[in-house]
Amino acid sequence: MTDSFDLSVVDWSKAQFALTAMYHWIFVPLTLGLGFIIAFMETLYVKTGDEEWKRITKFWMTLFGINFAIGVATGIILEFEFGTNWSNYSWFVGDIFGAPLAIEGIMAFFMETTFIAVMFFGWNKVSKKFHLLSTWLVAIGANLSALWILVANAWMQYPAGMHFNPDSARNEMLNFWDVLFSPVAINKFLHTISSGFLLASAFVVGISAWYLLKNRHTLLAKRSIIIASVFGLLSSIFVGLTGDGSAYQVSQKQPMKLAAMEGLYQGKEGVGLVIIGAPNPSKTYNDDKDAYLFKIEVPKMLSILGYHDKDAFVPGIKDIIEGGYTYKNKDGQEVVAPSAAQKIEKGKLAIQALADYKTASDSGNKEMMAYHKKILDENFEYFGYGYIKDVTSLIPKVPLVFYSFRIMVGVGLLFIVFFALVLYLVVEKDIAQKRWLLRASILMIPMAYIASQAGWIVAEVGRQPWVIQDILPTVAAVSRIGVGAVQVTFFLFFAIFTTLLIAELKIMFKQIKNGPKEGGH
């Protein structure tokens, strides 16, 4: 299939998906976190009856509304792309992807038409407690909505709870709970939403810091900083813990991604974690060049983080390509890792078995159907390898993944210190006098967005060439359409999303400049 296929369609389709997903992700994390911050503020209003808390709640609620309105439905474009650019993939994933997305759609619809309306229109029309309940339900609903998307994404990283039906060419769900509660899904959900909490906290602290610098709305600013710095500190610690859980899952389920994150070509026991370094861009997996131009590492830390054992063997890119090391498989058994070449052979067997099964099915030969299905089932876990022509295509872009990982982790750790410092100064000292910190707080807003995007680059670029890990590579998932159509829509999306982003920033800046006031949203 790939011999005669225009690979630029794959590249443009990947670029388009990355563009839309990254733009979409500019809007989502703020919604996830700001919803809870507003709910905390309104809870304080209901508990104390202090009208200033109501004013604070309404101000941040307006910014929440702007972000929500501009961002809402931008994710639907991704679903358009599935149907047009990734039709093989859409069909192949079957109800595994359909079920979570359908739940997400229904939940989002009900949340958006009822509780958000109460949240914005219901002041003085419903009881304080019902309004507060609606605000909490909006925050919880937005995060549950993210759950289903992240479950679907986690399944692509670690396909679980399904079997492949060769009659329909679709994966069918065997156990919904295995899909929902796969260890990758749980970690991904918790890590992603807590990173949204962190980002929203940075947003609130940064804007409040601007007010303090301008000596405007100081009570609102200080109270907002207290709420956001507590939430941000707890969230940033939680992001670190769940990030550790995610790294553990990656080391077990996606060793190539871990190797790319670390720029690790040659595996060994007791591998250190590179804190600062530069991967050698001319390095290939099977030459003798140094993997790094320079590096500073913490000894044995990667083995500890990845396998909870300081002397554990961590396979490098070369090991994963050549195989021969031992690892624990899905059933927890110690097995020898097959080489990429062996996996490719098994993948080809699986693809041929699917073709032969289809021929047998068309001729009604049940005996041969059973025979070929057995071969397909035995080799299905390597189905996608059958499309791989060159083993080097199994290696993700190491420098991009390596640097993105360090940006994400570095900025994440910086946020723990930042929120702790801000909290200390706002509670114990006069933070308004620390003008350097107030200026730094504004800069931390884009830093949070950069770290958040870097996290997705690690997750998605790090798992290339797979759309479904080991089972379907991008080259087999993409539709056979003209590259020109994808190029046109790429630039069309770029223009639309950029316009939306400019609109968001303009309206948001204007609202921030105007500051809080009573009245409608």
């Binding site: 309105a69 501009i70 047009t84 069909w91 309306a117 229109f121 029309k125 639309i496 309206i507 409608g520």
Partner: protein, 72 residues
């Protein structure tokens, strides 16, 4: 009439929209955005290839199997 639940819900939304300030701009953006997405992008640029080209699920399955196995 005014005690009717539907009347109350209608007025809840009606008053809410009527009293919006910045919300009116946002709703305009939402409407324009949804129009572009569903009536321009979806219709002219993003057909569902399998739904458009094949009538039944069996035909779609056969097509995808053919794509995946390159039988022709």
């Amino acid at each position: 009439m005014k005690n009717n639940i539907f009347y109350k819900v209608f007025h809840f939304y009606y008053d809410g929209f009527k009293n919006m300030t910045i919300g009116k701009t946002l709703w305009l953006i939402i409407i324009i955005k949804l129009f572009i997405m569903f009536f321009i992008l979806k219709i002219f640029f993003f057909p569902n290839i399998l739904k458009k080209n094949f009538k039944t699920d069996e035909e779609r399955s056969n097509h995808v199997i053919e794509q995946l196995t390159n039988k022709k």
